[in-house]
Each structure stands twice: as structure tokens, then as C-alpha cells.
């Protein structure tokens, strides 16, 4: 009898728990689940803003996968992400190691290094656009003054350069996140480990690879993964500097989606671009969540 009562109480608690979670579930479904399902549905229609739509199956995806521009944009997105995150990691690590040492004016240097991250994106993008200008930009002017070039470099109009020009801006803006995340990790390493390694004859490089990197590996992987997701979805930086041009040579998935949706008013086609990269983002998010979960 007592056992039966206990089972009943457990069952009651379980039901109560489920009921209390229900509003949250409904809220999450309303805010995320429904829009997600609706997005997938729209990608299967011929939706254009201001017009009725009808179901057309996978036609948008077929058209998309046959479009060479889509593949170019996807390639740009990966080049943008891999190059930007890779360089941010390397430079961020070097600067974090430097800032981890004691030197005069360290506090001021730390503060200055935060500026690129603290600046509003719009201000940063406009400033860089101005600096890249081929007739009155400061970058070309300096290169000419020191005799490296005779004619200005078309940073924002050559299809071979534009993507790299916006990658440089992304790196400049994103380095502080790496510096301060990695610095946080470096400060948790016990100094005695380095002392012991020194006594054992380990040189600086050996100490870095055998002590520093393994100790902050979780921080490196989370920082890299979060930055990869943000960089993959970057819009503001590219849109404000090049608009994805010329001829999509600096377009990434986010700018390309916007262009199709709002310049061509092909909403369903644009949504299909966004949906097509979801599997990649889901894998990245799962990996990051798993890592963060492990850390907790």
C-alpha cells in the first residue's frame, strides 16, 4: 500500500513537472519552432512579397543547386569563415600570450585592444570603406608614399581582392574576442607547471605546445566554434563595405539571401538559400553546445 502511494506521489510529481514546463514549451515552440517550420514551408512555395503563393515542391532548391552563383557564394562563405577565424585565432593567441606577461602599460594596451570590438559595426565598416577608397583612401596613399605602388589598388572593386578586403575587417573586429577569451584561459594555468618544465629543460615552444595549449584547449575550441558561427553568419561587415559586389565576388550566404529577398523580391528563393545551409550550422551549434556542456 505504502509502495503504491509512493508510486502515485512520484507520478503526480512527474505530471506536475510536465505541466509546469508546458508554458515554457509552448513559448519556445511559438518563438522558434513555428517560425522554423514556416520558413521551411515558404522555401517550398513561390512566395513573393505582396502576392499570393502556391506550393511548388523542391523547385527552388533545384534552381538553387543549378545556379553557379550559389556555389560561388557558398565557397566565399567558407573562405571567409576559415581564413578569418584562423587568422583571428593565431593573432589572438600571440597577443593573449603577450598580455599575459607583466610589462609597463599593460592595462592601457588591454584597453586599446578592446576598441575594435567596442566600436559600432556601422562606424567600423564606414571607416574601413573610406580607408580602402582607391582615390582618396589612406591605405593607398600610404602605400604610394612609401613607394610600394604607383597606381592605387582597387581594394573594393577587383573581384580578386574584395573578399580578402572584407576578411581583413572581420579579423580586425574579431581579434579582441579571441584575445580576452584566451587570456582568461591563460590566467588559470598554474605557473609552477612552467617552472617545472623549465627545470626539465623544456624550451619556450615545447612549453607552449605541452602546457599552454592542452591547458586552454577547451577555451580555444569554444572560442573558435562561437566565432565560426558568428563569422559564417556575418552580414553587416560585408553589406556595408561592398554590398557583396562586384557581381557577388564578396557575397556570403547572409548577404546573398538578403539580396534575393529584398532586391529581387524572390522571398521563397531567398529562404531556400538560408535553409540550405541549416545542416552546416546545426552541426556547428551542436558541437559548440556539447563543448560548453562538457565545460559546465
Amino acid at each position: 500500500m505504502r509502495k503504491k502511494n509512493k508510486l502515485l506521489v512520484n507520478q503526480n510529481e512527474k505530471t506536475l513537472g510536465q505541466l509546469l514546463v508546458l508554458p515554457l514549451f509552448l513559448l519556445v515552440f511559438g518563438l522558434m519552432g513555428y517560425p522554423f517550420i514556416n520558413t521551411i514551408y515558404i522555401s517550398l512555395t513561390n512566395k513573393r512579397v505582396g502576392y499570393d503563393s502556391s506550393f511548388i515542391g523542391f523547385k527552388n532548391y533545384i534552381r538553387l543547386f543549378q545556379d553557379p552563383t550559389y556555389w560561388m557564394v557558398l565557397k566565399n562563405t567558407f573562405v571567409y569563415m576559415i581564413l578569418a577565424v584562423g587568422v583571428k585565432l593565431v593573432i589572438g593567441m600571440i597577443l593573449a600570450l603577450t598580455l599575459n606577461e607583466d610589462f609597463k602599460g599593460r592595462a592601457i594596451v588591454r584597453m586599446l585592444l578592446l576598441i575594435p570590438w567596442a566600436l559600432p559595426g556601422m562606424v567600423a565598416a564606414m571607416t574601413w570603406k573610406w580607408m580602402y577608397n582607391d582615390t582618396f583612401g589612406i591605405i593607398n596613399s600610404i602605400l604610394k608614399n612609401i613607394g610600394l605602388i604607383e597606381v592605387s589598388i582597387p581594394w573594393l572593386s577587383s573581384k580578386h581582392l574584395t573578399l580578402y578586403s572584407v576578411i581583413i575587417v572581420n579579423i580586425w573586429r574579431g581579434i579582441p574576442f579571441f584575445i580576452f577569451s584566451l587570456l582568461g584561459g591563460l590566467q588559470t594555468i598554474d605557473g609552477q607547471l612552467y617552472e617545472a618544465a623549465k627545470i626539465d629543460g623544456a624550451n619556450m615552444i615545447r612549453r607552449f605546445w605541452s602546457i599552454t595549449v592542452p591547458s586552454i584547449l577547451p577555451v580555444i575550441s569554444i572560442t573558435t566554434m562561437l566565432s565560426s558561427i558568428w563569422t559564417f553568419n556575418d552580414f553587416e561587415n560585408i553589406w556595408l563595405i561592398t554590398g557583396g559586389g562586384p557581381l557577388n565576388s564578396s557575397s556570403v550566404v547572409a548577404t546573398y539571401t538578403y539580396q534575393i529577398a529584398f532586391q529581387y523580391n524572390e522571398m521563397a528563393q531567398a529562404v531556400s538559400v538560408a535553409v540550405s545551409i541549416m545542416p552546416i550550422l546545426i552541426v556547428m551549434i551542436l558541437f559548440a553546445s556539447k563543448r560548453i556542456g562538457k565545460e559546465d
Partner: protein
């Protein structure tokens, strides 16, 4: 315990649902704010003056109002988003080609009452004409001019150029890229603005070509249009324009001309207005010329600013009343003058001020009455204005310049783009 908790959860859900619906009901019962979206203008005084007038009007009417300034390049995307969200503003000021696209989409309120009552010039009626009805109220002309650095042409011992070919021939002598000076500041960026596409259309017409005729036939694939494409792409391929011109937005040529880095710019009076106020020394070296001619003559396609009232707005009547208030002589006449020649009036009787007797301003005024619509010879409708706002001919030139595409192939792709838009 279980029952009690169930009741609490159910009550909470009912309460929240009731509150949400009650709020929604209350919102839909209200007349709603009178919302106006206006373009951010090159002359900042414009937005201040209209804002003041708008709020004074709303106060007199006893309605709550909001005046929002939006950069022209963002207006289309924001309006599309607003239409989708069924939350359009009541009144919008925009470029005529964009307004005509929304008219074609059936999003606008008929404004024939305003157009019949106010004494608009015939050219203004033509500028705001759209095939499917009276949905667009003309607001101002934006007559274009060609700014030329007379000092540079004089220094090279050149006569004033007249034809497109003259400009190219002279450019070889004026061009000085090593010192960051380029002869021709022809914009060719696909930024969503109208400058580059307008110029491209002018060149194609001057060479005897056209994109679409007055009966909606796609006639772009002709030897004349091919010649026009070859001409304009050669300007960039031969380095006679700044490399960045291929990505300029509508401010690109303004900035470059004011920075003294280009010899020629085609624009409305915005450059003139800035030169007069900020760089009078550069204005002295500048000459304003008519648009160049080609083998088939000279064409100056142009548009203007217009008002449109959105049918899903909640204050259509107030919007129409405000349009009438806007055109009252005490406000409109001064507003146009405040733009410093960049705008020209669309309503008769507003050009009697001494300002318009000045030779330069008189030239802008005269020019405003002789331009052809941006989509000429195609009839302004949803398709022709969509083709204009998608900048199809600019993209054809970009393909030749940036991707090294053969001009005939670029022309074939331009034809395919038009067929896609016209569903042919």
C-alpha cells in the same frame, strides 16, 4: 495537489491568452499612429523642415504621428518587410521608379483626387504615370546635369566635348591615375540606387538601342545596344574611370567629384548644392553641361521624388490631407528652394521666386521639363520599373568589366534577365 497545480496552470494560460487577445483587440480598435517614411536627403535641412511641418499637421488634426527618415537604398527592403508584416506606413516619399513597382503590386491607394485638384505640370504627370492607375503623386523633379572640370579640359587644350565619343577621346588626355585623378566619374555600381542604371539607359538610347519597347517587346538584343555596352565597358577597362566606380552607390560620384578626383560626374543638383555651400573654389572650376549625345541623339532619362499612400496603412485620409498641406505655397516653394537647385517644383506657380531667375537654377528648371522617364520607351509598370530597380543593364556592364565576359554574351544574359522579369 495534482488538481490544484493543474488549475493554477490552466488559469495562468487563460489569463495570458486573454491579455494577449485583449491587447490585440485594443490595438486594432485604435485608429493607429499616422506614420510617414521619408528619404534621408542630401540637404539635411529638408528632413528638418518636413518633420516640423508633419508634426504641426498631426497636432492640428489631433492625431498621434511619427516621422521616420530612411536612407534611400534601404527603403525598398524595409517596405517589402513592412508589406509582409502587414504593418506598412501610411505615407512614403520615394523615387518614382520604386513607387511604380509598388503600384504594380497593388499596394497603393488611388490618388486621382489629388492629381486632379492640384495644378501639376504635364511633365510631372508623365513622371508619375503608371500603367495600372493613379497611384503616384509627383513631389519634385530631380533634373540631372553633367559636371565637368573646365580647368582640366583647358589645361589639356581641349574643346568642350559634346558626344559620348568626345568624352572618351578627351579622357585619354585628362586622365592622370598616378595622381589619383580620373577623367570620367561614370558610376556603375549595383547598389540599388538609380544613378548608374539611369546613365546606362541614356547611353543605350543615345546609341539607338532600347531595352523594352512601348508594347512590352524585349528589343535589347540589337547591334545598337551592343555598341553602347562596348562603349561604356571600355571606359572602365581602359582605366578612364576610378576602379571603384564599378561599385559606387549613388553617393560615390558625389564624393569623388567633391574630393576633386574625377573630371566628369553626372548627377542631379546635389553636387551643385554641395559645391556652392562647401567648395566654392571647385565650383569656379566647374561647368554644368547638357548630357552627351550619341549617334541617335541625346536622351536624359530622369525621374523624381513622389508620394505614395499605402492601402494597408490606417490613416489614408490623413496622408492625403498632408500631401495637400505639403503643396501649400508658403511651405512647398521655400522647401524646393532650400534644396538649392537640386529639386525642381512639380506644381505650377512655384517657380516665380528670384531664385529661379539665376541662370544655373533656370537651367535646372528648364531641364526638368525635357527629360524622359527612366524606363523609356517602355511604359512604366511593375515589370519595367522592376527591371530598372534590379539594375539589369548595369550588371551586364559589370559582367564585361569584372568577369571579362564577351559583350555579346553579356547582352544575351541581359536579354534573359528581362525575359525572366517579363515572364516571357
Amino acid at each position: 495537489m495534482k488538481k490544484k497545480a493543474l488549475w493554477i496552470v490552466c488559469l495562468m494560460l487563460i489569463l495570458v491568452t486573454t491579455m494577449v487577445f485583449a491587447q490585440g483587440q485594443a490595438e486594432s480598435d485604435k485608429p493607429g499612429k499616422f506614420v510617414m517614411w521619408d528619404k534621408s536627403e542630401y540637404v539635411s535641412a529638408y528632413n528638418d523642415l518636413v518633420k516640423e511641418r508633419f508634426y504641426a499637421f498631426a497636432e492640428a488634426q489631433g492625431i498621434e504621428a511619427e516621422y521616420i527618415v530612411i536612407p534611400p537604398n534601404d527603403l525598398k527592403s524595409k517596405l517589402l518587410a513592412a508589406i509582409e508584416a502587414k504593418n506598412t506606413p501610411d505615407l512614403v516619399v520615394t523615387d518614382d521608379f520604386l513607387a511604380k513597382q509598388f503600384a504594380g503590386m497593388g499596394q497603393l491607394v488611388d490618388v486621382s483626387d489629388i492629381k486632379n485638384d492640384l495644378p501639376f505640370y504635364d511633365a510631372a504627370i508623365n513622371m508619375s504615370y503608371v500603367k495600372n492607375g493613379d497611384y503616384v503623386v509627383p513631389l519634385s523633379f530631380l533634373a540631372p546635369g553633367l559636371y565637368l572640370r573646365k580647368d582640366k579640359w583647358d589645361a589639356a587644350g581641349l574643346d568642350l566635348p559634346v558626344t559620348w565619343e568626345d568624352y572618351k577621346k578627351d579622357a585619354y588626355l585628362v586622365n592622370d591615375p598616378k595622381n589619383d585623378f580620373y577623367a570620367l566619374g561614370f558610376p556603375m555600381g549595383a547598389s540599388g540606387g538609380g544613378d548608374a542604371e539611369g546613365m546606362m539607359r541614356a547611353i543605350i538610347l543615345s546609341y539607338g538601342g532600347a531595352l523594352v519597347d512601348e508594347n512590352d517587346n524585349i528589343v535589347v538584343n540589337s547591334p545598337e545596344t551592343l555598341e553602347a555596352l562596348k562603349y561604356i565597358s571600355s571606359i572602365y577597362l581602359e582605366g578612364l574611370a576610378p576602379p571603384s566606380a564599378i561599385t559606387w552607390d549613388d553617393m560615390g560620384n558625389n564624393n569623388a567629384y567633391l574630393a576633386g578626383t574625377i573630371g566628369v560626374a553626372m548627377n542631379s543638383g546635389s553636387i551643385y548644392s554641395a559645391l556652392k555651400n562647401e567648395k566654392p573654389e571647385l565650383l569656379e572650376k566647374t561647368m554644368i553641361r547638357p548630357w552627351p549625345a550619341g549617334p541617335a541623339g541625346s536622351f536624359t532619362p530622369s525621374g523624381g521624388n513622389v508620394f505614395v499612400v499605402f492601402k494597408n496603412g490606417k490613416n489614408s485620409d490623413a496622408a492625403k490631407l498632408f500631401i495637400r498641406d505639403y503643396f501649400k505655397k508658403d511651405f512647398y516653394e521655400n522647401l524646393v528652394i532650400e534644396m538649392g537647385g537640386m529639386w525642381q517644383p512639380v506644381v505650377k506657380g512655384m517657380d516665380q521666386n528670384a531664385f529661379w531667375k539665376d541662370p544655373t537654377n533656370a537651367a535646372w528648371l528648364a531641364s526638368s521639363k525635357t527629360t524622359v522617364p527612366n524606363t523609356y520607351p517602355a511604359v512604366p509598370d511593375e515589370n519595367s520599373t522592376r527591371a530598372f530597380s534590379e539594375q539589369v543593364s548595369v550588371k551586364a556592364v559589370q559582367k564585361i568589366v569584372v568577369n571579362g565576359m564577351d559583350p555579346q554574351q553579356a547582352l544575351d544574359e541581359l536579354e534573359a534577365d528581362l525575359k525572366r522579369i517579363y515572364n516571357k
